[in-house]
Symmetry: C2
Subunit: 486 residues, 2 copies
Amino acid sequence: MSGVNTLIRCWAHHTGSGTDGCPPERKNMVVNTQTPAPNRRMILNAFSMNCVSHIQQGLWVRADSRQTEYLKLDPWLQLARIAEAGCLDSIFLADVMGLYDNYQGNADISFKQAVQVPANDPMLLVPAMATVTKDLGFAFTSSVLQAHPFTFARQLSTLDHLTNGRIAWNVVTSYLPNAGDNLGFDGLPPHAERYARAEEYLEVVYKLWESSWTDNAVIIDREAQIYADPSKVRRINHHGQHYDVQGPHLSEPSPQRTPVIFQAGMSDRGRNFAASHAECVFVVRTSTHAIPGIRKDFEKRLNEKGRSISEIKLIGGVSPIVGGTEKEAINKKNEYLEQLSVEGGLVHMSGQTGVDLGEIDPSMPLDDFKTERIQGVVKNLIDTAPPRTRTFGDLIRNNLSGAWLVGSDEQVANELQNRFEAGLDGFNLTYSVTPGTFVDFIEGVLPILQKRGLAQTEYTPGTFREKLFGHPRLPESHPSADHRYQ
Amino acid sequence: MSGVNTLIRCWAHHTGSGTDGCPPERKNMVVNTQTPAPNRRMILNAFSMNCVSHIQQGLWVRADSRQTEYLKLDPWLQLARIAEAGCLDSIFLADVMGLYDNYQGNADISFKQAVQVPANDPMLLVPAMATVTKDLGFAFTSSVLQAHPFTFARQLSTLDHLTNGRIAWNVVTSYLPNAGDNLGFDGLPPHAERYARAEEYLEVVYKLWESSWTDNAVIIDREAQIYADPSKVRRINHHGQHYDVQGPHLSEPSPQRTPVIFQAGMSDRGRNFAASHAECVFVVRTSTHAIPGIRKDFEKRLNEKGRSISEIKLIGGVSPIVGGTEKEAINKKNEYLEQLSVEGGLVHMSGQTGVDLGEIDPSMPLDDFKTERIQGVVKNLIDTAPPRTRTFGDLIRNNLSGAWLVGSDEQVANELQNRFEAGLDGFNLTYSVTPGTFVDFIEGVLPILQKRGLAQTEYTPGTFREKLFGHPRLPESHPSADHRYQ
């Protein structure tokens, strides 16, 4: 089916629903006829979080979801086994270090709907999941506000050793004020300050990972009783604005040294940060027509940093809802749609935007919004509302389901191919229910993608970076390379 | 054999070695005839570290040690399985956040002999080991200098959830100046300041663990779509000298909430800290005759804090060398003795004491030390040298092997019983080789202890605290109880 013109019809056309979460540009899209570049393959990550309710608020109540079991090892071991059985590239774990607490001025609905709270540490799931997998990568989120870089760098190296080099770090700078208040920053430091801190944080960890031990420092000569050559280990003596770190790194060089760097912020500053440091960029919900522009934008920014667009992978976010036939998928979607929590969505969006959406009655028709009375986030939301969105609540529901790809296995495969050929390198698969969403995808959609040569059928040997890029270390153009101790 | 008068003969009497690591008070000791108090049982922990060489420097070169495989999951999974097969209480993981770098003014020998460097993060071994065990506890070390208490408390809660309440935290304040320099403290903060910080650190984590969520805050009512009751979760609003933490804790209450608290510092300030906070105190190498005094001292200190001696367990450190018969054990001991690294021991001791022992020639006879020329650490060392110690190197070798208990399975069991009856509640078993030391102990000594009713033959159900103390939460007398949110 590769390269065939295939009409992708949005499920909204079949259901006539006005709250379908289907952005206008997804209608009547045509799959590009161009064949994929040789060796180019779709990166596929299972996107999750060590909590009850990650993105699609309200669905945790379903009996077929294991999300309320997040406290136990078993659902995570199961997820890891499923992901590796599907040759997925990684499990990508999101995180926050604070509450969504600005909706109606408190966190009440956050707790009721479990909107990313409770939320446990993601990093600690990795060693457990590593015991039942051999090739699966593990990407997890850690904010530069939450851990001292010396401690964090050693934790990353420890994980990279234990997993034989399967670790990626999603670098974030936090956006919830409560995170700042929890970590001693007296509120969230301003955006620019957080990114300045992130720059120094990365400088410190690069020095620890790359600059402390040479590749051949560890000898392990039992007869001579020499484990490591002291002349090949050095202190880093970092003295900066935020950190003073003497070193050396206490971990010997791990398979990847610097783990694969993920980044997600889509602000101008965030994109520049990604252009400097990232190897994978999570561009979240990206409509097909916007992809080439985003790709161009990143190409330009990377070039300005002396890097090439081939050095990063652009990862979109999708939530496949499949059920064999299109009809089954639509039935499933309709069930989900009813169970989505509009309040949970409002909480999530209020926290993400920093604007309390709690004063707006969700049942208020969009037509009643006088554009002169609204501005900012709310105006943007209403301006980008899909046609036939009736109420503000429908708009929120649309947002919650915005990443949904609903259809038969083949229809979803087609749409993924379409976006892949438009310039995305892969997808974070967001769950509606876990592990069901991932199982359905792997059983239904994945074999089609594999048959078309778009998705891998077996893992490439080596570290996560080797699997993604074919080379073990970051290229010379990456800022970490400046610190390399040869 | 329980309660029988048994002559324990120190192996030194058989070998005539002057460098035997056998303190004088261990000679001709008699096992108390008193029977153990009902329900009193010996706590047994496997003591290790996520590194090549923990305490008995030099032995990592042995072919029968797996310590050079510390970077991989497999030896840790094996160790966990062995420990649980032996019904040990826990694996207790030590840690440092810096180099031993004052011996001869540098860290050269540290790297050569792998003296606790490289050293990886201990916490990240726990989730992996949890996947292959059900009852084994996990105690690990984390310094109050290395992690922000908000981040750390969530990591502990995450682990406590994943393991169904099997976590203990060994609270330390660091002693290596390089740890301070690595973590932005410009050297190690003074002793008193570190303990003051530790007090506040504990106050913060107690508030997060005990004061944030009520026991019944989490409802999980699917029909009503309510995960948690917001009226039963509150911020902690801690504002102190070192930390400002708003909260609430992001983790819902874990099985133990506050993990079991271990402590090891034997300074006056350290003992007071333990008297306030600890549930298990590692009193390291404790001669039998000194045990009642230590117990009395702790009793007095605990009483001053409104606690009772029954609220803590005193854990000694021993390194059993057994081999079936006494002769086999002695042969093994002689092999180990030859392989111990005096230089490694000097590095370790220099770091621990803060005094560079690098200017002393290890071959120098003790008789040549003019007592008027030496003072401080070196004088203390020489003053407490066992008889027939010839050279300074022998003294160091003696120190490295100071925790050795060498003999037949029964002889070692007798000596453990002796110390147990003198007032120790249990032992951290230090390895010479891993997992061999633990296997030998579990196969040989443990069945004898079990037969005598001194060691458990199966696990008590429940959390680690329930297994140790019979109750799930810390008693009202513990400072954490002040913060309880009912």
